[in-house]
Symmetry: C2
Subunit: 186 residues, 2 copies
DNA sequence: TGGTACATGTACCACTTGGTACACGAGGGG
DNA sequence: CCCCTCGTGTACCAAGTGGTACATGTACCA
């Protein structure tokens, strides 16, 4: 059970650590020291600093997708949207989300090792969200437009939340959107 | 007229350059070389690397606010929203917006010198947007909620646009939001 | 038993980093 | 005319960087 894959273990701890402390200004050596190894080990397992970054990006993406996966698609669109939002605003996810936005920003600027995020960052979510919309009777086209819009609202409010910490305010904005826009959908 | 302030000049060119190339992985020396000076000059004018970053953040913020300032608040909310969005999706602004999101991400992770962004990043926009909403007859509370929501939609779709480059798709999503939600407001 | 593949530590390398010391030239005011 | 401030360049520094060489430990298989 307890896997003996040191690389996997190292990666998970690295992602956790970087989620808490940010990926900038962390060198191989600092990171290694803080994980209780030597920087030699990170090189050994990931080839290079950039190789590690690539894996971190992949893992962050996988975690995001895991959040999406345990979405329960039953109930009205409004109910699904609210459950979705509640899941995202779980404070336990804040560090991962911060890391996600940090990497997103760096990917936009072309930092090597992070580019892999960009193609996925939107499209990977569109698929499931479109399917969800269609299951509620939307046309392909409408489902796509609304998926995009819903994702934008979610990410935009998440950025707001992470910057201000004002959960009440962003909840209010999301409620307004869901009650006024989403509720009138199907 | 335009002469006399080498520091100001240096700062503007630095922001332009960092907009195009990203703030990570740019050292004092690289940046200086690319601006045609020595890193000594950057230290002289800004005190330190972090001092420079602080000024860059301030300038990016100022530019964002300049975009907000030349908003024409006449016309229906839907018209204003669409004009607003059109202004933001001017490709000439992409580099600035990329830099904005990059710094935003780093500020969320607590990079020294960037923290100044966080308090402003939401609240600085709320004021003018709330005033706009109220001028169209919304209550204080409604204006606030809608300002927050509008900002989230804008930033979320901007993130989408910068990642995918699919202007048509994000325009469609914004149109849908404006026509369905904003149009029903006043 | 021995070998071999993985995992890890120690020591080192060349290079870059942010920051400093210092010298120099131009311009203006006394 | 001298001096002083501003802006700039050159040279330098200690510290930290990513990466490599090599030796070692450990476990499992033949």
């Amino acid at each position: 059970m307890e896997r003996k894959d040191p690389r996997r273990d190292l990666l998970e701890r690295a992602v956790d650590y970087l989620s808490e402390h940010g990926v900038i200004a962390r060198s191989l050596r600092q990171l290694a020291a803080e994980l209780g190894t030597s920087h030699r080990m990170l090189i050994y397992h990931f080839g290079s600093m950039e190789g590690l970054l690539v894996e971190v990006v992949r893992e962050v993406e996988a975690r995001q997708r895991a959040v999406l996966a345990d979405l329960d698609p039953t109930g009205s669109p409004a109910d699904v949207a609210k459950a979705f939002w509640r899941r995202f605003t779980d404070p336990a996810l804040y560090p991962n989300e911060r890391l996600f936005f940090e990497l997103y920003g760096q990917a936009l600027q072309g930092r090597p090792g992070t580019e892999a995020l960009l193609p996925e960052v939107v499209t990977a979510w569109l698929g499931p969200l479109v399917a969800l919309g269609k299951s509620h009777g939307l046309s392909e086209r409408d489902a796509l437009v609304n998926a995009r819009l819903g994702m934008a609202v979610t990410r935009g409010l998440l950025l707001d939340l992470l910057a201000t910490g004002d959960l009440e305010a962003v909840n209010e904005a999301m409620d307004r959107f869901v009650d006024t826009y989403v509720a009138g959908l199907p």
